[in-house]
């Protein structure tokens, strides 16, 4: 069914297709409604726009952002005399892309190896799994990778990352459970420098953004990284579950305040949730999505493609 959807019967799907496939794994009632709404024949009237707003909300884009998108559409529809669904769909896509693509992709400069990537997020979003996949991703690019198990809090988090390290064929620096994450990072940075490692990926413990003391711990981790290189950590990725609702905005806001998040990894896009919250986050906080997670296998992490993402939101 999937293949007939994308008309790629034999080919190995490209990155963009894989992302579309992942997001579109099942056709939902929602998407059928969207298709109906945006069908060629239906005239564009106020009720169509209102229903469209509902469908945007239903993909977790949020009330404020949905209303803004619809307001833009309404304006353009009357100005350009949009008459049918096809044109409206085109406008809708353009508007969502505008929001996602207007986010500046921070250029990172790595003056001294290793490049340090810090993984942060609330509990259960898939930080450890993503860390493992990210290691494999960089390995495939021919870079040397070292993992740092800085989640010293959750039971068996270190063991979990260890398995991923073995799968990806990279080494890991660890400490005991209950140890100081900054100390683990210090050791890892030393090891990475000594071994001339390209990328050091640091898996931190999941924490709710409302816990001030735990958020302050992230700051300490960052300071530790800075002692080795003024521009480290070079990237701080907020790992967010695609099922996340409106709380995602608050997560992004507070993690950015505490740990200077530079990008988002949207995980579990292989479910039926669409991850629309990243559009609200892009609009309000100017945070780009860097990667998406689309499964439990090693290769199931791919760079974000706004075009494919919006298509999958609209087309199913």
């Amino acid at each position: 069914m999937l293949q007939s959807l994308f008309n790629t019967p034999e080919q190995k799907p490209g990155l963009m297709d894989r992302m579309k496939q992942a997001v579109a794994r099942t056709r939902t009632g929602l998407q059928e409604r969207m298709d109906d709404l945006l069908s060629l024949a239906r005239p564009v009237d106020e009720s169509a726009l209102e229903e469209l707003e509902g469908t945007l909300i239903a993909s977790d884009i949020g009330v404020a952002t949905s209303q803004e998108i619809i307001a833009q559409l309404r304006q353009q529809a009357s100005r350009r005399q949009i008459r049918d669904g096809a044109e409206l769909r085109h406008l809708l896509k353009a508007e969502m892309l505008r929001i996602l693509d207007s986010v500046p992709l921070g250029q990172r400069t790595v003056t001294a190896r290793p490049e340090v990537i810090l993984m942060v997020g609330v509990n259960g979003t898939g930080k450890t799994t993503t860390t493992g996949k990210l290691a494999a991703y960089f390995r495939e690019q021919g870079k040397s990778v070292l993992l740092c198990a800085a989640d010293t809090f959750r039971a068996a988090a270190i063991e979990q990352l260890e398995v991923w390290g073995q799968r990806a064929g990279v080494e890991m620096v660890r400490t005991r459970q209950g140890g100081d994450p900054s100390a683990a990072l210090y050791d890892a940075l030393q090891a990475a420098q000594a071994r001339g490692i390209d990328v050091l990926i640091v898996d931190t413990a999941g924490r709710l953004h409302t816990k001030n003391n735990l958020m302050a711990e992230l700051d300490k981790i960052r300071r530790t990284a800075r002692r080795f290189s003024a521009d480290a950590p070079h990237e701080t990725l907020l790992v967010m579950d695609a099922t996340t609702g409106q709380n995602g905005l608050q997560q992004a806001r507070l993690f950015t305040q505490a740990a200077a998040v530079s990008g988002i990894v949207l995980t579990k896009l292989d479910g039926t949730a669409k991850g629309g919250i990243v559009i609200a986050i892009a609009r309000e906080l100017q945070l780009p999505v860097r990667f998406v997670g689309i499964g439990e296998q090693m290769g199931d992490l791919i760079p974000f493609d706004s075009n494919a993402f919006v298509d999958s939101l609209l087309e199913g």
Binding site: D60, G124, F153, T210, N212, T244, T272
Partner: protein, 458 residues
């Protein structure tokens, strides 16, 4: 950050006074605000539509009572409607007539199944049961080790099992489950909690595995473990799990964050099964029975006064508090000793942040919620240290404390003279406030009044 729903409604109802009845026209704007509030709280769009229709039907034609403001009237309808939807049933377990009672934990990846399994075991232990934990998550790396560590931490029995190098798959899962049940019977455990692998509701293979596990174990309870931060998709996953497994209840996890938890409504709506527990943190005892009326306040952004009162009753020494209050209100009686005692009592209730979060975000407490994030928990400890560094005479009479004494106190408590000054200023202010309360009682009356209102709204 968000304007509270009742503030918004107050605005929309400004013109309603004196109109006599709630009509289609004047309720329209209010319903729009209610819709937005529910959607912002992640209640599913279709559920919101249903709710709005119910609320409209109930509200239209109602006379505007003189006792309640139109806002209060509509809020009451909204609350009642939400509470009715969530049901009144609380945490109650079906136990098997022939032990062991089997509880199957189901849910998406990362919803908190393993942590919740441990908490549930601790809760059952406290209730006099002998739970046995077993993990049949043979897929996620180190998942079984995680449960092992959790079990050890709470001192619960665990069936470890031997994978014997068998490939991860349904056969291994079923073998472990069968062995665990035998172990439960042999070791005299009356409840068995089965922690399963996280799975997507559209994963045909893993959902089938779950169905087979169900028919094999014939569990009394199948709990859906759901993240309180879940958005609109909650209905889809919950429905699929329910259709396949006939869930008996839900545990809503990560409720210690600031998510409004609208997913609770969505899940209840599609499964028809009660939310039984909420997870409130990472510690084994951060686990509470679910109360519909409380989460309704939270969904509507109105605080959780009931939990606060319950917490206060549980932790505060009533006699001591009353004595303290009496002394304080007498005017001169409130010494630094009393101040310290009061701090200690408050500290017993938990972190200041968690207490502030339970306050409603309207009325006299407006702005407190936002302040919660800035609360420095260590401040309490510092103040206590400062008072500890005073002599008994100084604690009885703060006016004794001169410049050189302040220096000594700062030194002794590891703080600065500025901090000592600041603490003393706060203390004097408090004393003054208590004094005026004792005399006029104006503040007190106002406080009692607003509390009565809140209870009346329930």
């Amino acid at each position: 950050m968000f304007e509270n729903l009742s503030e918004k409604l107050q605005r929309t109802f400004k013109n309603l006074r004196g109109q006599g009845t709630v009509t289609e026209e004047n309720i329209g704007e209010a319903l729009k605000e209610i819709r937005i509030a529910l959607l912002e709280a992640d209640v599913n769009l279709n559920v919101v539509k249903d709710l709005i229709e119910h609320i409209r039907a109930k509200a239209v034609g109602q006379e505007v009572l003189t006792a309640l403001s139109p806002t209060e009237q509509v809020i009451k309808i909204v609350r009642d409607e939400l509470v009715a939807m969530l049901g009144t049933d609380t945490a109650r377990f079906k136990f098997a007539s022939q032990p062991p009672t089997v509880i199957l934990m189901a849910g998406l990846q990362g919803s908190g199944k393993t942590t919740t399994s441990g908490k549930l075991a601790a809760w059952l232990k406290k209730g006099g049961h002998r739970p046995l934990l077993v993990s049949v998550d043979v897929y996620r790396p180190a998942a079984r080790e995680q449960l092992q560590i959790v079990a050890k931490a709470i001192g619960a029995n665990l069936y470890e099992g031997d994978l014997k190098g068998e490939a991860a798959g349904p056969a291994l899962v079923e073998r472990l489950a069968k062995e665990a049940r035998r172990e439960a019977i042999i070791s005299g455990c009356d409840v068995m909690i089965v922690d399963t692998a996280g799975r997507l509701h559209i994963d045909e293979g893993l959902m089938t595995e779950m169905q087979r596990l169900k028919s094999l174990l014939n569990p009394q309870e199948i709990l859906f473990i759901a993240d309180a931060m879940t958005g609109q998709d909650a209905v889809r996953s919950a429905k699929e799990f329910h259709d396949r497994l006939a869930l008996t209840g839900t545990v809503l996890t990560k409720m210690d964050g600031d998510a409004r938890g609208g997913a609770a409504l969505s899940i209840r709506h599609v499964t028809g099964q009660p939310i039984k527990f909420i997870g409130m943190g990472e510690k084994p005892d951060a686990f509470e029975p679910f109360h519909p009326d409380r989460i309704v306040s939270r969904i509507l952004g109105m605080g959780d006064i009931m939990t606060l009162i319950e917490k206060a009753e549980e932790h505060l020494d009533r006699k001591k508090s009353e004595e303290l209050a009496k002394k304080a209100l007498m005017g001169d009686g409130f010494s630094l000793d009393d101040f310290r005692e009061q701090l200690r009592q408050i500290k017993k209730m938990g972190s200041l942040q968690s207490i502030i979060k339970m306050l409603p975000s309207v009325g006299p407490f407006q702005g407190m919620q936002q302040a919660a994030g800035n609360v420095d928990e260590k401040q309490f400890t510092r103040i206590e240290a400062i008072i500890n560094s005073m002599t008994a005479a100084e604690r009885k009479n703060h006016e004794l404390i001169s410049g050189s004494r302040r220096k000594r106190i700062a030194h002794g408590s590891g703080t600065s003279v500025q901090e000592v000054n600041q603490m003393l200023r706060q203390y004097v202010q408090m004393r003054k406030m208590f004094k005026s309360m004792g005399k006029g009682g104006a503040v007190q009356r106002r406080l009692m009044g607003s509390l009565a209102n809140m209870r009346g709204g329930r």
